[in-house]
Symmetry: C2
Subunit: 354 residues, 2 copies
C-alpha cells in the first residue's frame, strides 16, 4: 500500500515528461512519494482518493465500513530466511488492514508468472500463502494468474488485496496524532530488509537474521481493546522503514516527533549488516512490527497488552509527540545527547525488498 | 479473475512437480483451468475458496454482501486500438463485479513498473485508468507501485481489484442455470483479441478493429431491473472467449447448452483476422460484451432492456439450455444444419491478450 506525506499531496510538483522510472521510485522513500503525489494521483483526476493516504482505505459499502488495501510483491529472492513471497504477500496485506483497526476478512491473490517458472516453486509459494492465510484466519476468495514470456517477470510477482471489517470504536489514522502522544514500537527493527539483502548480496548473515514477516492483526486487536480510542495512529514500517513511517505520520498530523535513539531495538546482527551495507536501520524494511501513537494516559495499558502477545513481546516506548518543534519533523535524540533530523529514505539503495 | 470448470475443482489432478509454467497456462483455456484446479487451489489448502468459482466472490462483511474481484493485466502492447492497459484494468474489474450483479464501489490499483519506463507513458496509463473509473462512477481508493529492474516487467503490469455492493434481488451465479434458459449475448465478439493481435503481429487490421473495452455494470443493472431473479447467470467472455465462458457455465450448472452459430455476431474484419490467424472467434477475448442465461419467460424483456443501452445495442439471442444432451457440453448448430462440440481454448495461441 502506498503511503505518502500528504503535504506533498497538497502541493504536487509535476514530474518532467522526459524522465523515466528509476529503481528509487519503488524504494518507499522520497522518490516513491514524489511519483505518487506528482504523477499517479494527479493523473487519476477526479477518481483519485481524497484526504491523507493511509496503509488502507476505509470505504462505506451498504452502510458498513469496509477496509481495503492492495500491495504488489516483487521481492528478490522469492525465498529468504524467515519466509517467502507467498506468506509475505498475505502478512503484508493483513497488516495494512490491521493498521486501520480492521479485522481481515478476505484476500484476493494475483500472480504474474513467467514462462518456464518451476511449477514446484509456484506450488511452494501458493502453499505458503495458504498456510499464512489460514493461520491469520482469513480466506483467499478469489485470484488471477497471468503468464508472461521468459525473463519478463523475474520468476514471479504476487499482488495481494485484502478487505476487512472495522467495527465501531478505535479508528486510527495517520492524521489523528496530537501533542503529548507516546510513540510505541512493537519489536526490533531491520530484520526483514537485512535478511533479504544478506541473501542477495551474499553477506553471510543468513544464519543470524531472518525476516520478521508475521501477521499483526491480533496484536492490534489487543491494543485497541486496551487503549480504545486512545490508539491514535498505527503504521507497519515496511518499505522505507521506521523513518518513513514516522515522517509520514508526523506530516499527516502536522506534529513534531521526538525519538530516543537509545530506545530503538536493533538486533546486533542487523546492526552489523547495516554497518557493512552503509544503511541506517531506521530506513530498513520490516514486515512484522508496528509503530503506534497512543494517548499518554493509555500508553502503559497498551504497552502491557502488546507485551502479552508473542508478536509484541519486545514492545518498547521510543518517543513522544513534542509540544514544540517544527510540525512534521522527526528528530532523534542520540545516545550522546545531541539531536539530528531523521529523514525519509532517499534514493534507490533498497529496491525489491518486498 | 480466474474462472474454472468446477468439475475440475471437484477432482484435481496434481500437476507433475518437474514441469514448468507454459504460456498456455495463462491463456484462459483448459491449461489455465488445470493450473488453478490442479495446483493453486490444492496448495492453498483450507484457505481456498469453496463452491463454483465465479467472475467475482461474494463475501459477507459486517452483514453486508461485498463482492470482490482481482485481475492482473499484462497485455502487450500497452496501447492498442480502442484502449490501453489502464482503462482495460478498470473495465475488466468493474465487469467482473457486474457479473455478480454488484454495483462497483471502489478500486485498488497496483503497478509493477520496470526501471527506465517513460514517465509520460505511466502518466498516460494512470490518466486512462482515472478517466475510466470516473466514467464508471467508481473511486480509486488505494494503490501500490513497485519498480523492478530493466527488462523485468516488459514495461508495465497493472493489477486491479474491485469491491462492490450487491443489493438484495438478482444473484446470478454460474451454477444457477436451468433447462429452458435462453442464452443472450450483448454484442459482437472477437474485437478485443483481434485488435491486440493485429497490432502485435502487424496484420494491418488496426484501422478496422478496435478493442470493445468498456464498462458493463449499467447494462447489468438494466437487465436485472427488467429480469429480476430470472437473470440466472452472467459472464464476460474475456480470456478464452465466448467458448470458455459457455463451457464454464454449462459445467458449473451441469446442463447442455446449444448455440446457433448463425446467430453469433462476428464483425467482418474480426472474421477476416481470425481466418488469417487460424482462430475460432469464439475463442478470442472480449472486454465489452457479456453472455447471459435468462429464464425463458423473462428473456424478451431482458433483451429489450439490453438494446436500450449503447453497450447492449447489438444484443441477440444465441441459444438455449436444452432439456436433453450431455450435461456440461456446449454444442453449436452450424449454418448448414450440422452440430459440433464447442470446446474450451487449448494451448498457448493467445498469450498476454489482457
Amino acid at each position: 500500500m502506498t503511503t505518502v506525506d500528504p503535504t506533498y499531496a497538497a502541493c504536487p510538483v509535476p514530474l518532467p515528461e522526459s524522465e523515466r522510472v528509476l529503481l528509487g521510485h519503488g524504494a518507499g522513500g522520497q522518490l516513491s512519494a514524489d511519483l505518487v503525489t506528482g504523477l499517479l494521483l494527479p493523473a487519476l483526476g477526479s477518481a483519485a482518493p481524497a484526504g491523507p493516504l493511509e496503509d488502507a482505505a476505509v470505504v462505506p459499502v451498504g452502510g458498513v465500513d469496509v477496509v481495503i488495501s492492495t500491495d504488489a510483491y516483487v521481492v528478490s529472492p522469492l525465498f529468504f530466511p524467515g519466509g517467502d513471497i507467498g506468506c509475505l504477500a498475505v502478512h503484508g496485506t493483513v497488516n495494512d488492514l490491521a493498521m486501520r483497526a480492521a479485522t481481515p476478512v478476505a484476500l484476493a491473490l494475483a500472480y504474474v508468472v513467467e514462462e518456464g517458472f518451476p511449477l514446484a516453486d509456484l506450488r511452494r509459494v501458493a502453499a505458503s500463502a495458504g498456510r499464512a492465510a489460514a493461520a491469520a484466519g482469513v480466506a483467499v476468495v478469489c485470484g488471477d494468474t497471468k503468464v508472461v514470456g521468459r525473463g519478463a517477470a523475474d520468476g514471479l510477482y504476487v499482488v495481494s488485496t485484502g478487505i476487512g471489517h472495522r467495527p465501531p470504536g478505535a479508528a486510527p489514522s495517520a492524521g489523528a496524532v496530537v501533542s503529548g502522544d507516546v510513540v510505541l514500537l512493537s519489536g526490533p527493527i531491520g530484520s526483514h530488509g537485512t535478511a533479504i539483502l544478506s541473501v542477495r548480496e551474499g553477506l553471510g548473515f543468513d544464519a543470524d537474521i531472518a525476516s520478521d514477516t508475521r501477521p499483526l492483526h491480533r496484536l492490534v486487536a489487543a491494543m485497541t481493546a486496551a487503549g480504545g480510542t486512545g490508539v491514535h495512529a498505527l503504521r507497519d514500517p515496511t518499505r522505507g522503514g521506521l523513518a518513513s513511517a514516522l515522517n509520514e505520520i508526523a506530516a499527516a498530523s502536522g506534529v513534531p516527533v521526538e525519538i530516543d535513539e537509545a530506545a530503538l531495538p536493533v538486533p546486533p546482527a542487523v546492526a552489523a549488516a547495516c554497518e557493512i551495507l552503509g544503511l541506517d536501520p531506521a530506513h530498513v524494511a520490516n514486515e512484522g512490527c508496528l509503530v503506534a501513537f497512543v494517548a499518554p494516559e493509555r500508553a502503559d495499558e497498551v504497552l502491557t497488552a502488546m507485551r502479552g502477545l508473542p508478536e509484541g513481546g519486545g514492545a518498547v516506548r521510543i518517543g513522544t509527540v513534542a509540544d514544540h518543534g517544527e510540525p512534521g519533523r522527526v528528530t532523534v535524540r542520540t545516545a550522546v545527547g545531541s539531536r539530528r533530523v531523521l529523514d525519509m529514505l532517499v534514493g534507490e539503495q533498497l529496491p525489491r525488498i518486498c
